[in-house]
Subunit: 261 residues, 2 copies
């Protein structure tokens, strides 16, 4: 049986931070013909709200920790403000969007990250994606829009990495669809040289990924993203791309495509 | 064709304000066997967040006005914090809840209230409920949980009265189901005498409603609620009840039932 194509697009905070960039992206996203899913990160709005509420960001050993107050703020901002604002904009653009957290219809189950050296607080690691329900929405021409909040099926909401949500979702959906996973961020792709924004490495396979990592070419921030990408490819996702907002328009040749071989 | 029964339950802010009352209510709600929908109001959390952010509630002629800052806060608190917290709790209780705003899958379309004497800002009056999509969820054993945020299908989110959402939803769903609409609030029902919390008027028909209103028996706060109830009954809703949280357990005989005749 030939599987139908599904595009999953993850957008980062930098697009969400700028109203004009976000609307321009959403127009292109709404125009995509195939079944599609949007996963969005948080952006600086959560920090602004935290600050306005007089909360101090909690860090341990330089890493952000999701304490209870922070969890409330990210739930409000990601699942409430940003998710519904994006959903309403997509509805305006005639894309029948439905905003979701992982708790909704048990779409994404996770567990609280196990405390090893660092206690990350209410950070969630994904256990399961309810691909069957998400497929039902897609079959009914509904476009799911996920924020990066999950739950543990025991009443606890959890703050989760949006890149990981996108890759776990891509893996789960590849049982039903031929999935293309697109990471949209501020750069044109994975760069050979961070000082040159056009030095895009257009194709990275598993071997090259290992070379680049060992050679210290890939920046530290990019390593977990690429790890997510290759994990997805190994587990059945057809295609993974990384690039800026022009990526999903398919008019720009400059972006990074990842493959196993 | 005999229609299947559907229970729609609206809970007010007072239940949401108290964690123990809310959890106790959600347990009873999760236990309801028939297809069901929950509609929740806001509670004082939005005021607390507004205050923590240093926002001043805006009022005109003594009435709350939803300015832009207030709309952001209610979107965060109603659609984010409360809606996802309730959804996660219901998931724990094995009720497959899905939290929704009116923007999601275009479930509730509204228009910005027309400025007559008072400009209420971003307050929405309901135009249409997407009963077909809500029925699809119910058929798939998903329990919709609505917050009181709607949209105008033109990118604008709107703050909407939760009582009205419940009655408009009941009316729309009565095309597909035999609908029982339940308003759960802090009192045992409509009271004959506000000083006596047990003076519940157990049955109110349209004629009695007119008598009570004319006689000044019904408190001013209750009039719009009863107006919503009778509007629902006139437009096809089978049954409307008003009472406290024990109402949905059907173990308490003391509540108010409304009917046309």
């Amino acid at each position: 049986m030939i599987k139908q194509k599904l595009k999953i697009v993850k957008i980062g905070g930098n697009i969400i931070n700028d109203e004009a960039s976000l609307y321009s992206f959403l127009k292109d996203f709404a125009d995509l013909k195939s079944p599609k899913i949007l996963v969005h990160g948080g952006g600086k709005r959560a920090n602004e709200i935290s600050e306005a509420m007089g909360l101090q960001p909690k860090t341990i050993a330089g890493r952000r920790v999701t304490d209870e107050a922070t969890l409330e703020v990210v739930t409000m901002v990601y699942a409430g403000l940003l998710n519904k604002m994006i959903t309403a904009q997509l509805q305006k653009l005639d894309c029948n969007a439905l905003g979701l957290s992982g708790a909704d219809a048990n779409c994404i189950m996770a567990h609280k990250r196990i405390v090893a050296e660092v206690d990350y607080g209410f950070a969630g690691d994904v256990d399961a994606v309810n691909a069957k329900f998400i497929a039902l929405l897609l079959q009914n021409k509904v476009t799911p829009v996920f924020c990066a909040i999950t739950h543990d099926k025991n009443g606890q909401l959890l703050n989760t990495n949006a890149d990981t949500i996108a890759s776990e979702m891509a893996i789960a959906m590849s049982n039903f669809y031929e999935v293309e996973l697109n990471y949209v961020f501020e750069l044109k792709g994975v760069l050979e040289n961070m000082a040159d924004k056009n030095s895009v490495i257009q194709h990275i396979n598993l071997k090259k990924y290992e070379q680049l990592t060992e050679g210290g070419i890939i920046s530290e921030g990019m390593i977990p993203k690429l790890h997510n990408c290759f994990n997805a490819l190994k587990k059945g996702v057809q295609k993974v791309n990384i690039g800026d907002a022009s990526l999903i328009k398919n008019t720009n040749n400059l972006f990074t495509t990842l493959s196993l071989k």
